[in-house]
Assembly symmetry: C2
Amino acid sequence: MQLARDADISDYLIAPDPGRDGLARAVTGVDHNGVETTIRVVEERPLTIFLNGQEIVTAMTIGDYPEYLALGFLRNQRMLRDGEAITGVDFDEELETVVVRTARATDYEDKLKRKTRTSGCAVGTVFGDMMEGLDSVQLPATPVRTSWLYALAARINRTPSLYLEAGAIHGTVLCQGDRPLVYMEDVGRHNAVDKIAGWMLSERVSPEDKILYTTGRLTSEMVIKTAMMGIPVLASRSGFTAWGVEIAQSVGLTLIGRLRGQRFVCLSGEDRLVRDADPASVAEEPRKSGRKGSA
Amino acid sequence: MQLARDADISDYLIAPDPGRDGLARAVTGVDHNGVETTIRVVEERPLTIFLNGQEIVTAMTIGDYPEYLALGFLRNQRMLRDGEAITGVDFDEELETVVVRTARATDYEDKLKRKTRTSGCAVGTVFGDMMEGLDSVQLPATPVRTSWLYALAARINRTPSLYLEAGAIHGTVLCQGDRPLVYMEDVGRHNAVDKIAGWMLSERVSPEDKILYTTGRLTSEMVIKTAMMGIPVLASRSGFTAWGVEIAQSVGLTLIGRLRGQRFVCLSGEDRLVRDADPASVAEEPRKSGRKGSA
């Protein structure tokens, strides 16, 4: 038995739109029995991000929300400053480019020379010093109810998505209390979190009372991005890396991994947890959760 | 029931060594019941790769086989040419650097200006044109027995590894016929494939009769790396991206995904398949395969 899909997504501000044109396509092949089979496969297309006159990076993305991806990427790279005056965000579908324009003249030639190839899913690249600006991060002591974590995991796992439909993709969800607000997906989970960051920047959403949920691993880059975004809690159904845990502990971020059914492990910031739910009352995940391998 | 581990790894030339110091560490946290719990978590450390005098990239890696990682990365970036005279590969553990030296003077300043953030797991970065050199690739029509694919998947899934022990990591395995030869793991699956490429380069191993198996998704970058390595077959338990399939079809690479139990889907190069195994005779994966989420 698979998880029942809950088609009612009215509680989301932005939910996945797996049926949307251009995010996946039907591809025909042959299965293990030699029978012709057609499956839906997610798209993966280049998007080149410019900051004013300078080409910054080409990201491989499913292609939705290019403006949010560009804004969030640049923000998470600290190439857009606090309160930066953004004068334009221009997406050209034909050229597969997004140009972000600022009132301030920018030049990151030196920063672009230092490239770190990180280890998240479709991570990719951090320019300059990965840890830059992290020491100034102050995360609020917002309490997190364990009942919220269980409710969010159950809700997100039942939300119709490209992940459930086509697999080979990651999701990141911005949540508030027990409510998922914005659910972004991408072939790279770091694109998904950057799209969240871009949405938050555009909508001037405050991070203090938010929880970030990711389907991906809790690596150093995911922890750094979450902390830089000012979000005090990062949760995932996947596992940890040692440096991710170390950074979370050093900035006081609550890090919850292996969140499946009634189980989870908290390796940092346990002081925020309010244990208001009895794990025994939480249903285990059914054998076939419907989640396709997307590793 | 979990998959039985098969401790006999004598058939491998290089097998994972999950107990090796420095690849994972025990971290103590609190579980869903509020009980203190200690789990093993994989390491993730920076390794900066130099080609002669030039800093190329910093990769986040578990840290084993730094020389193979550097050689394979540079080779897969086409910064090392066919038959390149390599005069030294120097790893400095304290400085976390590897310097690869060539008889030829090198300068990739221009190439480094073009950065593509790809969408595999811990992909990271491709410099210059991702497709560069792909049109010259000629892959041999080596037959692939489906009995080999089933045997490889079963063998690899039962091989003691950091993946089975700690999760949050990817594996890539170079195989020949039904035998896995070299099984590399890393926080980034692209590091794992680069380590394979580095080993092949060092040992002068021919790719024509090899099969590459990955735990990760079949994205454009994985397909491109496999094709550039001259390996005609890429198989995975995970899913596909559309561009990965397109590239595989254009270069004539056999692409097999969702290889689990008796099931698989072949979306490219089906002509290489020799269906000598009856899928019905292949055991399904047990409910708990012991594979931890590493997405």
